[in-house]
């Protein structure tokens, strides 16, 4: 994958600054010498996350294994004033888990315990590195599950989900991570331990929990997370409708939304995506000659569900579906979903590199925007694979290409920007679930005014006045007021 696009700045052995040298020895004494990496050859792996277009090698990577170690690590870094980047499973798709060579990656993947499950109150307390699908697996014993289900759920961590406010197909009905986090214990970048939200009823005052969820690692590190668990639905029906024109599928989406039925999920894949999936081990039996398939899931109480299924089936057909099939059993349902969830990975088959996009448009604009994306693809001669959460209007137009061809790469980037502009013009936004990270920094001024970006800077400065937590992400530093006033200000330093 596009790992070659931005090669690592090469220096066989990087000399650490005195502060980093001190930090390295303090961290080693906290976590033990085997839980800290400092040699360049060991840090190569931590130079990329799920979007390997970007590569940046951190100065160090440290892996606390206990809550106490994590707290001590953050405090040591605070005392040495060293920047850091929290990292879960590194499956993020915005370059958000990458660190510059003056920063330390705090790997949270060893803090992966499920601390407790409280079936009566339908909640669980987990460490930040607990894996999303692992939580659902543990909760299944009680007939419960953790609802946000990003496609990377077999690998991604709850801490990472909190940082990104992750979504997933089923957030159409059940809501995103924000709606499922009850409380957090957070270690702030300055080493203070705070609790946000409440496990004992309502929390009065500012919604600091709401502000923290989706802060992309810039506000601190979650030490534990209390999440809501959801009762498994009594009954589930999954439909697959296939279309010879993607615009018809988009019309079906609008019709279903307008009908008032709230599907648990409503996902769309276009022809190139279908064919990549069908070539993979996750082949789901999607018709390979279709221009689009729509995957609609309805769930809830058994009573009344069949009526909704019949309605959705009729609406799919009225929009021009060539066929509509309802999964006969759990195995078929799982197969249909596997294809969808692994679609992103399957695109590795098409060409060596991939740019991943994540825009949201108002749902009524889906047909226009998809047509516009098609037009842009034709005009620029790039291959766009659309696989997305149609029910939310959350598009993922991904472009497969070969980064070794500079001319093609230039066309891809031109197309991406044109697609993003089309989504914004339709009243949409630049990211629905992947986050801004590094990748979408440049798009932020397209959707937010200077005053709004400055307000975001102010909020960050409350949690992290020294800007040491995941520096350089989310808000372009030039948007902050003091930067605008004093353009010489260097990253990570406040003006005097």
């Amino acid at each position: 994958m596009a790992m070659a696009a931005l090669p690592i700045s090469e220096a066989a052995s990087v000399a650490l600054s005195p502060a980093l040298e001190r930090a390295a020895s303090r961290l080693a004494s906290i976590v033990g010498p085997r839980a800290i990496l400092s040699r360049p050859s060991e840090l190569v792996t931590y130079s990329a996350d799920g979007l390997p277009f970007y590569r940046k090698r951190p100065a160090l990577a440290v892996f606390p294994e206990t809550r106490e170690q994590l707290i001590a690590v953050v405090r040591a870094l605070a005392e040495e004033r060293v920047p850091f980047v929290p990292r879960g499973a590194g499956t993020g798709l915005s370059g958000g888990a990458l660190a510059e060579n003056d920063a330390v990656v705090i790997g949270l993947n060893r803090l992966r315990r499920i601390i407790s499950i409280d079936p009566e109150n339908r909640r669980a307390v987990v460490e930040p590195g607990a894996v999303n699908a692992g939580l659902t697996r543990a909760a299944s014993e009680y007939g419960l599950h953790y609802a946000p289900d990003p496609s990377s759920q077999t690998a991604c961590t709850i801490g990472g989900n909190v940082a990104e406010n992750a979504g997933g197909p089923h957030c159409l009905k059940y809501g995103v991570t924000l709606n499922h986090v009850i409380a957090l214990t957070v270690i702030l970048p300055d080493g203070e331990l705070v609790s946000l939200g409440s496990t004992e009823g309502e929390r009065d005052g500012y919604d600091l929990l709401g502000a923290f969820v989706g802060s992309e690692g810039c506000f601190g590190v979650a030490v534990d997370v209390t999440v809501r668990l959801v009762k498994n639905p009594e009954s589930v029906r999954t439909l697959l409708a296939d279309y010879t024109a993607i615009v018809d599928a988009a019309r079906a989406v609008s019709a279903i939304i307008a009908s008032g039925v709230v599907p648990a999920a409503m996902e769309m894949m276009d022809g190139p995506t279908i064919r990549a999936v069908e070539a993979s081990i996750y082949a789901a039996g999607y018709p390979v000659d279709a221009d689009a398939v729509l995957l609609v899931e309805l769930d809830g109480l058994a009573a009344g569900l069949e009526e909704d299924v019949a309605l959705v089936e009729r609406l799919c057909r009225e929009a021009g579906a060539r066929s509509v099939r309802v999964a006969r059993d759990e195995a078929e349902r799982a197969r249909l979903w596997q294809g969808r969830k692994k679609a992103f990975g399957a695109m590795g088959r098409i060409s060596p590199d991939l740019v991943v996009q994540d825009a949201v448009v108002p749902r009524t604009r889906l047909p226009d925007v998809l047509a516009e994306i098609h037009r842009i693809a034709q005009e620029t001669g790039v291959l766009v694979c659309n696989v997305f959460h149609a029910g939310d209007g959350n598009l993922h137009p991904n472009i497969a290409y070969d980064a070794r061809n500079p001319e093609a790469t230039a066309r891809v980037h031109h197309a991406m920007r044109a697609i993003m502009n089309a989504c914004i013009a339709a009243g949409g936004t630049i990211t629905g679930e992947h986050g801004v990270g590094l990748d979408k920094l440049d798009y932020m001024p397209l959707v937010f005014t200077d005053d709004t970006l400055d307000a975001m800077c102010r909020l960050r400065d409350v949690f992290d006045p020294e800007r040491r937590a995941n520096p350089g992400k989310v808000v372009p530093v030039r948007s902050c007021r003091e930067w605008r006033m004093a353009p010489n200000t260097r990253r990570g330093e406040l003006p005097a």
Binding site: V194, E202, R203, D207, A211, S259, L301, I430, F448
Partner: protein, 374 residues
């Protein structure tokens, strides 16, 4: 009136060091702590729906738009905004969001933080901030929308709100059932309801006085709102029948519940983890025992009991404050606030947020019990 007018008013207030009391239609001003202000900034002229595309199930309106006006706008499209705070429909959208006020429907749909998708806000330093957007899923940038929601106007004046809407269900019915509210019995009932094959929009326990106000009898009563297609509601009703003697209620029972509180009452919300609901209910009932006119309504699934007392019964309020639960007062006689309701924004982060968004302390100073600059 426009957002620029609001910005000018905030800038003027800062220049004149004349703090503002921010008001919507002015119907809920008795809520919250006394505000140390010299001027009132009323948003009652900042009304109207700005953008409504029914197919998107989203709507944008100016902050002074009333909830009643929103209902009139959305009903023809068989849609509604799932926020039903206590109070009458003349309450504004801006005030609902600013106070994070929610009602019985929050059980199924969440509160303002779960339904607001974008805001326009004039911050204390006179900047116009537009956060979130008009789409239902959005993680662009830090979440200022959640920050301003429930901040009681102390970080900025909300001037415009974008919300997600829901489809009106085909069938929407409410049932009532008399309940034995002795602790063990109540606890068992709640536990059984939790695992029952029902998916209510709201499920609230009403104290005898409130039950009689809505015409549901004179004992503690469970009100259950079931919605969906006809087959689903029929089946859920049958499940409910297994719990006791269920009778039909008119759907406007919820409007009666929401407006049953006298404007000047003492209002407290007691909450805990949902499994402690029966114990919170019992504690609150005992704290209010013997107080004429005391009422209570509890959102069973959320573990929140809303207690209403006449303003003349401060001792009962003091007893509520001591209950083993999280106690949040919405309304209190002015003198009682300092005594029994500590400020929820005294922590370092909250104080710092206030400094950065309202450095001159011109927005509703004192409403959250924070130390007010002289």
């Amino acid at each position: 009136m426009t957002s620029s007018d609001v910005r000018d008013a905030v800038r003027d207030a800062t220049a004149a060091r004349a703090p503002l009391r921010i008001a919507g239609r002015g119907t809920w001003l008795h809520a919250g702590r006394p505000v140390n202000a010299t001027r009132t900034l009323s948003l009652s002229d900042l009304g109207g729906v700005v953008h409504y595309e029914p197919g998107d199930f989203t709507l944008t309106a100016r902050a002074g738009t009333t909830l009643g006006e929103l209902t009139s706008a959305t009903l023809p499209h068989r849609q509604f905004l799932a926020l039903d705070p206590f109070g009458d429909p003349s309450g504004t959208l801006g005030a609902t969001v600013a106070t994070a006020a929610s009602g019985p429907l929050a059980y199924a749909f969440g509160g303002p933080r779960d339904n607001v998708i974008g805001l326009e806000v004039v911050t204390g330093d006179g900047a116009i901030v537009r956060c979130g957007g008009r789409v239902v899923k959005n993680v662009a940038g830090f979440d200022l929308t959640r920050l301003f929601t429930g901040a009681w106007g102390t970080l900025g004046v909300i001037t415009e709100v974008s919300v997600r809407l829901r489809a009106l269900p085909a069938v929407d019915e409410t049932y009532a059932m008399a309940v034995d509210d002795r602790p063990d019995q109540l606890s068992a009932l709640i536990a059984a309801l939790r695992v029952a094959s029902i998916a209510p929009l709201a499920m609230d326990l009403a104290s005898p006085l409130l039950a009689s106000r809505v015409g549901a009898g004179s004992t503690t009563t469970l009100l259950v709102r079931l919605a969906g297609n006809a087959a689903s509601v029929r089946a859920q009703r049958r499940v409910l029948d297994t719990f006791g003697d269920v009778h039909d209620m008119p759907v406007d029972v919820w409007n009666i519940v929401r407006t049953a509180e006298p404007a000047s009452a003492i209002v407290a919300r007691l909450s805990a983890r949902p499994s402690r609901m029966a114990s919170v209910w019992t504690d609150a009932r005992e704290a209010m025992a013997g107080v004429p006119g005391a009422m209570m309504i509890a959102s069973v699934g959320r573990g929140i009991a809303r207690c209403v007392l006449p303003e003349t019964t401060p001792d009962a309020a003091r007893r509520l404050a001591r209950c083993d639960a999280t106690v949040i007062f919405e309304q209190l006689p002015a003198a009682l606030w300092k005594e029994i309701a500590p400020s929820p924004v005294s922590d370092r982060l909250s104080r710092d947020i206030r400094e950065r968004f309202d450095p001159a302390h011109v927005l509703n100073p004192g409403v959250l019990g924070e130390a007010v600059a002289p």
